[in-house]
Symmetry: C2
Subunit: 146 residues, 2 copies
């Protein structure tokens, strides 16, 4: 195994920037803002997104349209992000985290516990989201009766 | 945008090798073989796996144990992989594909349509799986009545 990270001057700083990009993604989600999403994602035809229970979306146009559709139907969203872990590999990094999503609509609420895999690439000094895959977690374990 | 792939001598050959690694992963799955899985995954404590409806697994020990558990309970599995797309970014690549999984157990069958995101890294001349995230796709669209 080669120590790939030795090529990077400051991998810890890089990881901080990746985690900051991940936070910007969830800030855009929480703000229901397509404009903010647009500053987080790389605008390429090969970026990809899997929303829970959706088909794969490919390319920024499809990804952008999906967020616009989700945000249009949502009045408010409250997000809690947990169990964040990140791995850096040169110019690419990916983050695993849980999403606790409480959404309110005109006619009610929806709550979802999701597991996400988010991939980022570096261009110059900036990290950009290039893939998001979120899917339902199993129900929380019942407390044991002891 | 910098042309990252120009750093690679033969990106098309690299992509072929990534797709071959992806095929070896599904061959191991189809063969219900932990030994084959072991030759596909990088044995590091940061690799990660999300099976449909499972919590995130981290590290090769957990990932290996999960495949062993799945394979032990399964008599046969028939896999059809579709809509494969891959993207290469230096020493990292990821593959999106659909999985049509027909599993037979002692007491019945299960069929699942899944969307997968598979991440690979290069070490020397070889590509290794470092992340797998699979989750349920929506039911196939009803044929239109026209």
């Amino acid at each position: 195994m080669e120590a790939v990270n030795e090529l990077e001057p400051e991998p810890e700083l890089e990881l901080e920037q990746v985690l900051a990009a991940n936070q910007r993604f969830y800030a855009a989600f929480g703000a229901l803002s397509v404009e903010q999403m647009s500053t987080v994602w790389l605008h390429e035809d090969w970026v990809q997104c899997v929303h829970p229970g959706w088909q794969l979306l490919q390319g920024w146009d499809e990804v952008r349209a999906s967020w616009a559709k989700i945000f249009t139907g949502t009045q408010r969203v409250k997000l809690e992000i947990g169990n964040v872990s990140a791995h850096l590999e040169g110019e690419v990094a990916w983050v695993a985290c849980t999403e606790d999503v409480l959404s309110s609509f005109e006619r009610g609420f929806d709550q979802a516990q999701l597991q996400a895999t988010n991939i980022f690439v570096r261009r110059g000094d900036s990290w950009w989201m290039v893939a998001h895959h979120a899917s339902p977690l199993p129900p929380a374990a019942e407390p044991t009766l002891q």
